[in-house]
Subunit: 252 residues, 2 copies
Amino acid sequence: MKPLILVTNDDGYTAPGLLALVSAVKDFGDVVVVAPELGQSGMSHAVTIKTPLRCTKVADSPIVVYKVNGTPVDCVKLAHYQILDRKPDLIVSGINHGTNSSISVVYSGTMGAALEGAIHNIPSIGFSLCSDSYDADFTLASKYAKTIVAQIIKHGLPDNTCLNVNFPNIAEKDFKGLKVCRQAKGRWQEEFDKRQDPRGSSYYWLMGYFTHHENGATDHDEWALANNYASIVPVQVDLTNYTAIDNLKKLF
Amino acid sequence: MKPLILVTNDDGYTAPGLLALVSAVKDFGDVVVVAPELGQSGMSHAVTIKTPLRCTKVADSPIVVYKVNGTPVDCVKLAHYQILDRKPDLIVSGINHGTNSSISVVYSGTMGAALEGAIHNIPSIGFSLCSDSYDADFTLASKYAKTIVAQIIKHGLPDNTCLNVNFPNIAEKDFKGLKVCRQAKGRWQEEFDKRQDPRGSSYYWLMGYFTHHENGATDHDEWALANNYASIVPVQVDLTNYTAIDNLKKLF
């Protein structure tokens, strides 16, 4: 039996990045898309529990496509437990229009879907391109997504672990290759854009800029991307800070 | 200057659990509540980027309270960067009506807020009670929340680390105390409730049950709660699976 590959994303089922990812993986197995109806950027690992979910098949050929009125994590859960007739062998999420390196992994809907796969021990990969543009060029990312998918189909991933893959937005001639690395330390500094609506009430747009807090280290994803590599970070679901446990036991 | 304490949650600014937490911390410093207008359970680390945020002061006394039309993480960001006149010394989130132990930390809006504090190196604690009831009894949780807050105000927390505190829903006479532990391995198994609407279209409610995958270990939060302890798990923001890096380097 050919591998069953679930494709999802957080930019919605019509996003060019998703179409690029479908093209990249379609020769590796049976591909089914279950993706959000609307953009879900920044939805992290959110699930929909207060409103009902609807799931509509929107294409049968050449690829089966379902749209869901929920989050990327909802899509993975619905696909796994309701839509697909067997457990998927691989989940790929993306290709996201925009970076998900460093701390952005925590906010990312693309990576929410991949992490949900990891929770169910399904090999899962989130792919992102460092360009927010709708018309971004996914040629390089698609090509190397194939390389990565081929290796993961062959070798699998450790339990409860998925991959966070980010591609620099550069021409292929400048590309240095793939780099396995760790999540860089960093954060988004917020700068809210405060405005007045026509009725005189104020509102805010969430804005911000990313800063990393690394000094000279070269083993993290921000270094890889800044140096024209694609970053591959193994991401896992146990958030425990094990090194803090002994000291905390002295307090409680 | 007294410590500045930000209180938030994911059940909304009127939830009894939040009022219990305000009572628990009000003697430790200047307290400001910035909490969601509506329930945000299951919103994880989601941020609002496609719609504008509004923030309304709804009380001045005895405690300053703002409501926000966004997620718990939005509340922390708005409080930190727009509402408060200085960086908070402590963020407390909760007390959640419902457990956030084991893998639920990943889906939890309560813990999304605490983790956002950790990203900004603000000592942060998420509190949850193992009861979904609106009328849950927060007496025990409030009492021991005070104990925990006192220690963290005095000793701080490691960089980029917050606490995930869960209380069993039991009478105080049965309570065994606080237990520092790790996140239990486990997952939610989904069982969608599929229905027909009055117009004949199908929809789903996300349902499920939690299963943990621990065999006899006693150092995790599910063990603590099942044995009448409150669990205290240090939670951090680096999701890298460091043990997987060397093997992955052989593939790429």
